[in-house]
């Protein structure tokens, strides 16, 4: 099926099979391999991208369903190679280790902080509860998001 969609601000086209997920379309057809595929059934959160302003699991959406939509992937957050506030705060907090879960956490935290700039630790923990990390024990990830929220408030 021929589809057209916007990905990170650019119009993209493709002809995925109906059974191809948005995650695989982004990775295999558009060569945007920053979106990671973990469990492939919606449990781990590694494939989280932003679809029309909302965080979604790109492994649970067919690519053909994203036709006409606006998608933001991890590649869209720092197009000029300059890290955003959240990415820099996570870097400074040593939020991640192996990096496999990183894009999912960053995309989820990005949309959450945009909607809840004053979130406290408990709310951040709840917002990230759907993303699994097998390295860190989560504390450094939470620290990074809290630091980003604080820096954003201080401007």
């Amino acid at each position: 099926m021929d589809i057209t969609l916007r990905v990170n601000g650019t119009t993209r086209t493709g002809s995925p099979e109906a059974r191809k997920t948005l995650a695989d379309f982004l990775r295999d057809d558009l060569n945007l391999t920053g979106t990671h595929v973990g469990c492939e059934h919606g449990v781990c959160g590694a494939c989280t991208v932003v679809l029309d302003g909302r965080p979604v699991r790109s492994c649970l959406i067919l690519a053909v369903q994203a036709a006409g939509s606006e998608v933001t992937t991890i590649e869209g957050l720092a197009p000029d190679g300059v890290l955003g506030t959240l990415q820099q705060a996570m870097w400074d907090s040593h939020s991640f280790q192996c990096g496999f879960c990183t894009p999912g956490f960053v995309m989820q935290a990005t949309t959450f902080l945009r909607a809840h700039p004053d979130a406290d630790e408990q709310q951040i923990r709840a917002a990230l509860s759907g993303n699994i990390c097998r390295c860190t024990g989560y504390q450094s990830i939470i620290d990074g998001v809290l630091l980003a929220a604080e820096r954003a408030r201080l401007g």
Binding site: D24, E40, H41, R57, C59, L62, S129, G130
Partner: protein
Amino acid sequence: MKLPPFGYEAPKTTSEAVELLAEYLDQASVLAGGKSLVPLLALRLARPAVLIDINGIRELSGVSVTDGQAVIGAMTREYAAEESHAVADTVPLLAAALPLIGHEAIRSRGTIGGSLAHADPAAELPAVARALDAEFVVRGQSGERVIPAAEWFEGYLTTSRRPDELLVQVRFPTAQPGTGVSFQEVARRQGDFAIVGLAVSLSLSDGAISDARLAFAGMSDVPVRATEAEDLLAGERPSAELFDEAARRATEGIDPPADLHGSSEYRKKVGAATVRRGLRAAADNAQERQ
């Protein structure tokens, strides 16, 4: 795993969808939010020949309130219902349950109709629908049927929808003044399926309970009403002793399933605790809303 091959249809109207269902019958699966069906495909637990994707049918989304009912289109996304003032004002029990469904990224796509048509007995919305006696409107080529919640849930992941019918809307009765609600859930992690969930709606009139509704999630192959506890509560004044007895009656006759998250005995104990907590919270909430 990658999804198996399937045919794909994306109707733009309800009548087109119904025509396709009549053509493919049980060879087809209806794709709404995809939060349950796509994992089932990936795990090869479902192998439909055709997916009928109803995401493009605009008339199936939205919330309206008329004649004492909140009418929710089957394709209304869970996040949209969660953010709806109409839902918060008229069906507070539904509003209490929605934030407990999965995680934010799940509710972005998951739908009210999809969850209720999937009919997972451990999910939140089936318990809410059963507690409130919601009505399910299904459409086939010969017209519409309205199915009460008590007849909708037939077994594990099984409803009384026929293969040629599409769930188009769900109608919830609006809460009367003096009605308090609570949704209690015990899970290993925020967003997981409930080990035990409980939907509670309690109406107070002159300090006495005029209507009590309790429905468990995760305690059977369908959401179950605790009718003996409801009968006990009717007409009584809220008290800790009354709620203790209600908790005993709500759990004595049931034989909940056992799995790696909890034994049957454990679920009964947790179930009794959720009844006590839920009744207390709903009674407090009812007083606030009077």
